[in-house]
């Protein structure tokens, strides 16, 4: 393979790897936003999922970690739902508080569970699962089809989410709830139950996203390691226009922007590394500015 081809493969592989947690979290957030619930606690759910996956994986292997992460994400979303849907507190501030709670909890539990002495924790990460046949495609094969299992989970969720939202009765009820809770209630949709379930589902995927970060990427946990990825996922939902395929493309776009760092390094270009740190956030802002005018949010979002 030529040098350029190798760089391209490396870039694409990195883009897909980085995009996976964003895709998972954003798909979940899209579902609850379609039901009219904006959950800024997705960052906290992701962080809780990350720590739970580390503890689970250390105790019983990666898949136990995945289960623990999903449960932790659901727990965080459950707390958010109890306040914001059950008691109808302000969704934005409630979500911020839940994230704050997760930062404190994970910080305290992490040091207790793994000690404060730096990177004392090294977990077995999930290896790549090559897909026979597809991986033989030049350049993109090894990039797209030699990924950890959780990446494929993210992809499979895209058509599932599409079918659920646009072809199932529950999806219809969910979207109706997000557009006008009053009208949905009048036609017999159990609005609060729909919103709660959608939010719990969003939390489960956010937890899974945290597990991906730990088990398929970093191999350890660090305080505040999600570093705003949950908030970027919210921007991705807007950029993806609340549509599963749009969200997939937007997540890949962000993964690509992040992966440029590796491509630049491979090509020997030197740019201050902070520029790459800033890139996803700056892109998110630009994307929001460009996307908001054209896309329409669910009419009842945040109410």
């Amino acid at each position: 393979m030529s040098d350029g081809g190798a760089i391209l493969t490396g870039f694409l592989a990195a883009a897909v790897r980085i995009s996976t947690p964003l895709l998972l979290a954003a798909t979940g957030e899209m579902i609850n936003e379609r039901a009219g619930v904006i959950n800024l606690g997705v960052e906290g759910a992701m962080l809780a999922g990350a720590l739970a996956s580390a503890i689970g994986a250390a105790a019983g292997g990666p898949w136990l970690g995945v289960v623990a992460a999903v449960l932790a994400g659901v727990a965080m979303a459950g707390l958010f739902s109890a306040a914001a849907i059950g008691a109808r507190t302000d969704q934005i501030i409630t979500g911020t508080a839940v994230t704050l709670l997760a930062v404190g909890l994970t910080g305290a539990i992490y040091r207790r569970a793994f000690g404060s002495g730096g990177p004392g924790l090294s977990l077995p990460t999930m290896g790549a699962v090559p897909i026979p046949g597809l991986r033989a495609i030049p350049v993109i094969g090894p990039a797209l089809f030699e990924q950890p299992a959780l990446t494929y989970v993210g992809w499979v969720l895209v058509p599932i989410a599409w079918w659920f939202l646009f072809r199932s009765w529950w999806g219809l009820a969910l979207r109706a709830t997000g557009e006008s809770a009053e009208a949905a209630r009048a036609s017999g949709v159990p609005v609060r139950r729909v919103q709660t379930l959608a939010t719990l589902g969003g939390g489960a995927l956010a937890g899974l996203a945290g597990a991906t970060l730990v088990l398929a990427q970093v191999g350890t946990f660090a305080e505040k390691m999600t570093a705003g990825r949950g908030f970027i996922a919210i921007a991705i939902v807007v950029l993806g226009r609340w549509h599963p395929v749009g969200v997939l493309l937007a997540a890949l776009f962000f993964g690509g922007a992040n992966a440029l760092q590796y491509a630049f390094q491979a090509m020997g270009l030197s740019v201050p590394y902070q520029l790459f740190l800033v890139m996803p956030y700056a892109l998110a802002l630009l994307a929001l500015a460009g996307a908001v005018g054209r896309a329409r949010a669910p009419a009842g979002l945040g109410r």
Partner: protein, 353 residues
């Protein structure tokens, strides 16, 4: 019960109690000694004159100033979640001016540092304001995202243009003596506390005595009603509130540089911008209340450091208490509102009968 929930002090006490209860429970569950931890928290905040003056009060200053900024925006219904980023923007600008202020008269140097910080805060929140007015981007998300950009900017500044002369440590040179605030004898407490208190009183007067304060409130309570009434330029009020909010947060960064650290480095703020949200909410967005809640959270943050030193509990654990306090206040507000609605409905029914 529901009547009590309408009283700020009762709700505040309730929220505090719940916050500490959950913190103690959580610490117990995580395997720490709750009594030792909370004791250490108390000693870290109030255990000595030094703890009170140089830990609690020093930390209360940025929390009051940022809390005022957050309260200002929230009053108009604009959710500035980016005080942390505006604080850092202010700190960068303050440091840049401060290191150049060698030989200036002290009032000029301090004034220049603060003006630079304030302007930087305004510029930093100017981006979300522009995005909101031009493209309808939610300020919640844009201010949040810019926090991360500001942290990266600090990281760049202290390893690049503002790095100390020997180019070893990731921090700036200290600012000129002239730009530093006078300290209270035998402590680290600086004159910024006076500024914070003055700002709080000034903002309270503006809120309660001026048409501007009234417009802010009207827009915050019901932007549509304010718009329909035709007398209030809703967009301009919201934009103004956000810009002023950024000014406060930026100034907070400038005060921190000129009064406490004298230099810029990463993690200068232990999350002051986020804690300020709790400060403002607990004070019910009342500037005089912000003084009290700022002191309270200053004590909490100072105590957290004591807890880490004495009991080995990571300082970040206090955000659990902060989060619970925010949640309890939100819940109490909802319950109080419902009770009011119920009694209004009850009165209406009596009238009708």
């Amino acid at each position: 019960m529901s009547k009590l929930l309408g009283r700020p002090l009762v709700v505040g006490a309730l929220a505090l109690a719940a916050g500490f209860l959950v913190l103690a429970l959580g610490l117990g569950l995580a395997g720490y000694d709750p009594a030792l931890s909370l004791g250490a928290l108390w000693r870290g905040a109030f255990g000595s004159w030094y703890a009170l003056s140089s830990a609690t009060l020093v930390r209360a200053v940025p929390l009051i100033v940022l809390g005022l900024g957050v309260a200002l925006a929230f009053r108009a219904g604009a959710l500035n979640i980016g005080a942390e980023g505006q604080f850092y923007a202010g700190a960068i600008a303050a440091t840049w001016v401060g290191v150049h202020a060698v030989g200036w008269p002290a009032p000029v140097a301090v004034g220049a540092v603060w003006v630079a910080a304030t302007v930087a805060g305004v510029v930093w929140i100017g981006v979300p304001v522009l995005l909101k007015l031009r493209f309808g981007v939610l300020e919640v998300i844009s201010t949040l995202l810019l926090n991360f950009v500001a942290e990266a900017a600090v990281s760049y500044a202290v390893t690049g243009p503002l790095q100390e002369a020997r180019r070893v440590y990731p921090e700036s040179d200290p600012i000129a003596e002239a730009a530093r605030l006078p300290l209270l004898h035998d402590s680290r407490l600086h004159a910024g506390l006076g500024v914070a208190l003055l700002l709080a009183v000034a903002l309270w007067l503006l809120f309660t005595r001026t048409a501007w304060g009234f417009r802010l409130r009207a827009v915050g309570l019901g932007p549509r009603a304010a718009e329909v009434s035709g007398r209030i330029p809703v967009k301009r009020v919201i934009a103004g509130a956000l810009l002023w909010s950024g000014a406060f947060a930026g100034l907070g960064g400038g005060i921190e540089i000129s009064g406490v650290t004298y230099r810029l480095f990463q993690n200068l703020s232990p999350g002051y911008g986020f804690t300020a949200i709790a400060v403002a909410l607990l004070a019910r967005l009342n500037p005089l209340g912000v003084i009290a809640t700022g002191l309270l959270f200053g004590a909490l943050e100072a105590g957290a450091q004591g807890m880490q030193r004495e009991a080995g509990v990571p300082a970040v654990a206090v955000s659990v208490a902060e989060a619970v306090i925010i949640l309890v206040i939100l819940l109490a507000e909802v319950l109080a509102r419902r009770a009011t609605e119920r009694s209004v409905a009850g009165l209406a029914a009596e009238e009708a009968a």
